[in-house]
Amino acid sequence: MTELIIPAIISCIVAFFVVFVMTPPLIKFLGNRNLAVQDINKKESVMVVRPGGPIIILGIIAAEIVLYAFLQLNEILAIIITTFAAFVIGYIDDRKVMGGWFKPVTLAIAAIPIIAFGAYDSNLAFPLFGTVQIPVLYLALIIFMIPITGNTINSIDVLNGVASGFMVIASFSLSICLFIIGNYEIAIVSLPLGFVSLAFYKYHKIPSKIFPGDSGALTFGAMYGAIAIVGGVEILAAIALLPAVINSFLFLSSVKRIVEHRQIKGKPVEHTDDFRLKATDDKTAPVTLVRLILAGGPLSEKQVGYAIFKLALFSGSLAILTAFMMRIFL
C-alpha cells in the first residue's frame, strides 16, 4: 500500500496541472479558429469554445502513463486505449454530426481492449449476497458498459459545469469505494479521472469558458466505465452514476428510441423573461432530469446545476455505503 503513495501523488498532480495549465491556451486556440457555439442558456449572445476533449484526454493519458511507469499493469493500458478510442469517437462526432446509433456502436467496439488485455474478472460482485460467475454474460456486460457510461455522461452535459462537476463527485465516490473494498491499485488508477474533472470544472463551471463537447463527455464516461470493469466495481459504479442513469432512463422511456438530443423537436425546457429555466408543457418533448428538477418552478442555471450535484452526492454516498455492505454477507 505505502509503495503506491508516491505514484498516486505524482499522477494526481500531473492529471490536475496538465488540464489546469493547458486549458487556457486551448481556449485561446479554439477561439482563434472560431470553434465556438452559442450558450443557449444565457440572455446575451455568448459564444463558448469547444471541444475541451483534447485537453481532458491529454491529462488522463499523461497521468496514466506515469502510473504505468510505476505499476506496469495491463489494466492501465486497457483503460488508456479504451478511453482514447472513446475520445476519438467523440471528436468525430464533435466535427461531424453523426446518427443516433454511431456512438453506441462504436463505443461498444472501444470496449474490446479491456477483453483483449484480459483486464476483467467475470465474477460479478453484489452487496450482501456475494458474487456470481457469468463468464459469457460478462463479456456482453463489458461491451454494453462503455456505451452506457459514455452516453450517460454525454446526456447529462446540458448545463454549464454539470458534466465535469458530476464527474468529480461520481469518480471520487468510485475511488473511495475501490479503497474500501481493498482494490488499492485500481483505486489509484481511478484518481486521475477525478483530478482531471476537477481541473476542467474550473473552466467549465458557470459561466463556461469552454465546453467538453462529445469528445470530453465520452472520454469521462468511457474511462469511468473502464475503471468499473477493471476494478470489479460495476454495481458500485452504477449506483454512483444513478442521477445520470435516471436522466438517460427518463429520456429513453419518453422518446422510446435511441436518438440524438439534437434530433428531438420538442423542447423540455424554456426560458422565463428573466432567463431562468422552466419546464415546458410540450407533450412531444422528452422527460429529462432537468425537466423534473424544474417541475417545482423556474430556477437559474446555477441552481439546477447544484440540484444535480446534490443528487450526485446522495448517490455517491449510497455507493460508499454499498461498498461497506460488500463486506457483509447474509
Binding site: F129, V287, L292, F314
Partner: protein, 76 residues
C-alpha cells in the same frame, strides 16, 4: 419535487440490491450436465436469458415507480 427525485434514486438503489440478491441466488447455482463440452455454453445461454428477463422486469418496475412518484409532474 426534489424529494421525489431523491426517493426515486433511493428506490433504484433498493431495486439494485434486491436484483443482486435474485441474480446471485437464481443465476449463480445454474449448471447443466449431459451436454459434454457444451455444458458451459448452454448454462451461459440460460443465464443470459434469465438475466435479460430480470432486466426487463427491473425496467418495468422502474417505469411504474417513475409514473407513481412523478405522476403529478410528468404529463407527457
Amino acid at each position: 419535487m426534489k424529494s421525489g427525485l431523491f426517493g426515486f434514486l433511493f428506490a433504484m438503489w433498493v431495486l439494485m440490491l434486491a436484483g443482486g440478491g435474485i441474480v446471485v441466488t437464481l443465476l449463480g447455482p445454474i449448471s447443466i450436465s449431459g451436454f459434454g463440452e457444451f455444458n458451459w455454453l448452454i448454462a451461459s445461454i440460460i443465464k443470459a436469458i434469465v438475466a435479460i428477463v430480470l432486466v426487463v422486469i427491473w425496467i418495468l418496475i422502474l417505469l411504474k415507480l417513475k409514473n407513481w412518484i412523478f405522476r403529478k409532474e410528468i404529463k407527457s
